[in-house]
């Protein structure tokens, strides 16, 4: 305590009145810190989910064995684009610098669980002779996929007992109904990600077309391209765009495609907007709590402040005390807020499989935001200082 007092005195160039006031009233300090920590927790949770959304969006893209993605010009995500002419694959493959091209079909099924609930699963139809996905498990099981009605399931699929995956891997194939067609899950792989569906199933393109009877082989959802080694990918994508320019498709590097998807989902989709709003609410809660504490503290010390005014202290000095308190509350409240958030991130990540994780940048941004928020509250609370009138002292 004394060491902190001395340190603050050095930093401030005066006695740390705010610190002494705050630490003198321990119960009030504890309430204030709990309030700030709670606001921090709210903001961290929102940002955590937001970050998980953003990170999650990138995961399936990263899982594709591809440098460049050709998709419908109306596509924002991997799921929402119109099918594109398969011709585009052949045209793209002919462009110098392209090493390989493969088409991917994408659709969603409802997978009924034994308890009657339903999992939404995205089905990826791939060419079993090409390497559309990076997953080594998929690569190893491509020969099985070539058989009719055989599927592999993503182990990260949410709300499915892990034991089921273990059984499948142990050789007990699992039959499910997909659009009234029985298919056999013969193996697993790891992909994960996505807020849209609970998980992924990979099948061959032929099986895909049997599950989705209204889809045609001539119209996949996207085409994955590999560049030749040493080829500059962005330049190649630009050349492809020029070459395939017919209005129905757009060519993006994988990084561009991820960025486009993230931008769309965070600004156009309700989930992204709600997380943004939640962050705002968290900050507002913090401002209100800190204001309440600081305004009460000013009101309780009007007599002392009036005395200091009589002694000759200027308005600046009192503003300094309130802002000192604001910054102390912000910094001290941030620490438990951060620790609780780290704990909750771990719990939620374990429970949901969402990639919730703390980044240094986020922690620092929230710390800075907390201090700004506290200072705003402090500035509002200083309006009450005018009530300290030294003429009332005698």
């Amino acid at each position: 305590m004394r060491a902190v007092t001395a340190l603050l005195a050095r930093l401030l160039g005066r006695q740390p009145i705010g610190w002494l006031q705050l630490t003198h009233h321990r119960a009030r300090l504890a309430t204030a810190l709990a309030g700030v920590a709670f606001a921090n927790l709210l903001v961290f949770m929102q940002l955590g989910f937001f970050g998980a959304l953003v990170a999650s969006i990138a995961i399936p893209y990263d899982g594709m064995n591809s440098d460049i993605l050709v998709q419908s010009s109306d596509a924002n995500t991997l799921q929402d684009g119109s099918p594109i002419p398969r011709n585009r694959m052949l045209q793209a493959a002919a462009v110098p610098g392209v090493a390989s091209a493969t088409a991917v079909y994408c659709g969603r099924i409802e997978w009924k669980q034994p308890d009657g609930t339903v999992r939404n699963v995205d089905v990826l139809g791939i060419d079993p002779l090409a390497h559309a996905l990076r997953s080594p498990e998929v690569a190893r099981q491509l020969p099985d996929l070539a058989l009719a009605d055989i599927a592999l399931i993503d182990r990260r699929t949410r709300n499915v007992p892990l034991a089921l995956f273990d059984e499948i891997d142990a050789g007990h194939a699992y039959r499910i109904e997909a659009n009234n067609r029985g298919i056999t899950i013969a193996g697993t792989f790891i992909l994960g990600g996505g807020f849209g569906a609970d998980g992924y199933i990979v099948v061959s393109d032929q099986t895909f077309l049997r599950i989705f009877r209204n889809r045609s082989a001539g119209a996949p959802n996207y085409v994955l391209l590999r560049a030749l080694p040493g080829e500059a990918v962005p330049a190649l994508a630009a050349r492809l765009n020029a070459r395939l320019a017919s209005g129905d498709v757009v060519v993006r590097t994988m990084a561009e495609a991820v960025a486009k998807d993230q931008e769309f989902q965070t600004t156009q989709k309700p989930a992204g907007i709600i997380f943004g709003f939640g962050t705002f609410i968290g900050a507002l809660v913090g401002i209100v709590i800190v204001y309440q504490i600081l305004a009460t503290d000013v009101a309780d010390h009007l007599k002392e402040y009036a005395t200091f005014k009589a002694i000759g202290y200027r308005q600046r000095f009192f503003l300094g005390i309130v802002l000192e308190e604001a910054v102390i509350l912000g910094v001290l409240g941030f620490v438990p807020g951060l620790l609780f958030s780290l704990g909750l991130y771990a719990v939620i990540a374990a429970a949901t499989g969402l990639p919730l994780s703390m980044t240094m940048a986020r922690a620092l941004a929230v710390l800075a935001g907390t201090i700004v928020m506290s200072v705003i509250s402090g500035l509002i609370a200083t309006r009450r200082l005018a009530q300290a009138d030294p003429a009332e002292l005698f």
């Binding site: 006695q15 003198h24 005395t307 200091f308 009589a310 002694i311 000759g312 002292l393 005698f394």
Partner: protein, 227 residues
């Protein structure tokens, strides 16, 4: 050398319109440097009003008040703060800050002049002079009434003020402690040549005065110098 306090035709009133109440009427007063002056008078006679005007805690409305050479009538906030820093106040209530120790409270009287290297030592010396050396790290809650008022005196004197304004500093104390406090105040003022204007109702304190002023209904009606 000009007198630290020179007042001419000072009027003062509270409120406006229907509720307006004039409480000071043409007060004339000069106090020479180093004088220990006691101000008496019935309740409501205007003693506190006069003190708060001279100490720049209230704005002068009419007449002239020269304090330490500064005309207070029409003085701006900066000039008023400058005067406040050159004078010391002792109030009826000690008005110490609960969260600060005795030493820290005393330092507040010094730090207003900027952070000085020897501030802690100066505060300790001041408390020592008032017999509170071993109470320097106590908070007000752990001090007796007399001790608190002595800390308040230390806070008022530590910055070496040119004038001390004290308004019934002993009112909250028992007789013994009251006399002790006034005696200390008197001794330090004498040593330092500090001009002192003290309001009191305690007749025993008159023995310490160089000069006794008596107010009645907003006027100074008696001005005697016992010795």
């Amino acid at each position: 050398m000009t007198d630290p306090i020179a007042v001419r035709g000072l009027d003062h009133g509270y409120g406006q319109g229907e509720t307006a109440l004039q409480v000071l009427f043409g007060v004339d007063l000069r106090i020479g440097a180093g004088q220990f002056v006691v101000l008496m008078g019935a309740s409501g006679s205007g003693k506190t009003t006069l003190l708060s005007l001279l100490g720049c805690l209230r704005e002068v409305q009419a007449g002239s008040a020269l304090v330490l050479g500064q005309e207070l009538h029409g003085a701006d906030e900066a000039a008023r703060i400058a005067i406040r820093r050159r004078v010391g106040f002792i109030f009826q209530a000690h008005n110490l800050h609960d969260s600060l120790t005795a030493g820290q409270n005393v330092r507040m009287g010094l730090d207003v002049h900027g952070l000085l290297p020897g501030a802690d030592a100066a505060a300790a010396r001041m408390l020592d002079l008032l017999g509170l050396r071993d109470r320097i790290d106590y908070r007000p809650a752990n001090l007796s009434g007399g001790q608190k008022q002595r800390v308040a005196i230390a806070r008022a004197l530590v910055g070496n003020p040119e004038i001390v304004f004290a308004d019934e500093p002993t009112a909250a104390l028992d007789r013994e402690n009251g006399l002790l406090v006034v005696e200390l105040l008197r001794r330090l003022a004498r040593q330092r040549g500090t001009t002192t204007l003290m309001v009191t109702h305690d007749p025993r304190i008159l023995d310490y005065a160089d000069r006794i002023l008596t107010m009645s209904d907003g006027r100074i009606v008696q001005d005697t110098s016992p010795k």
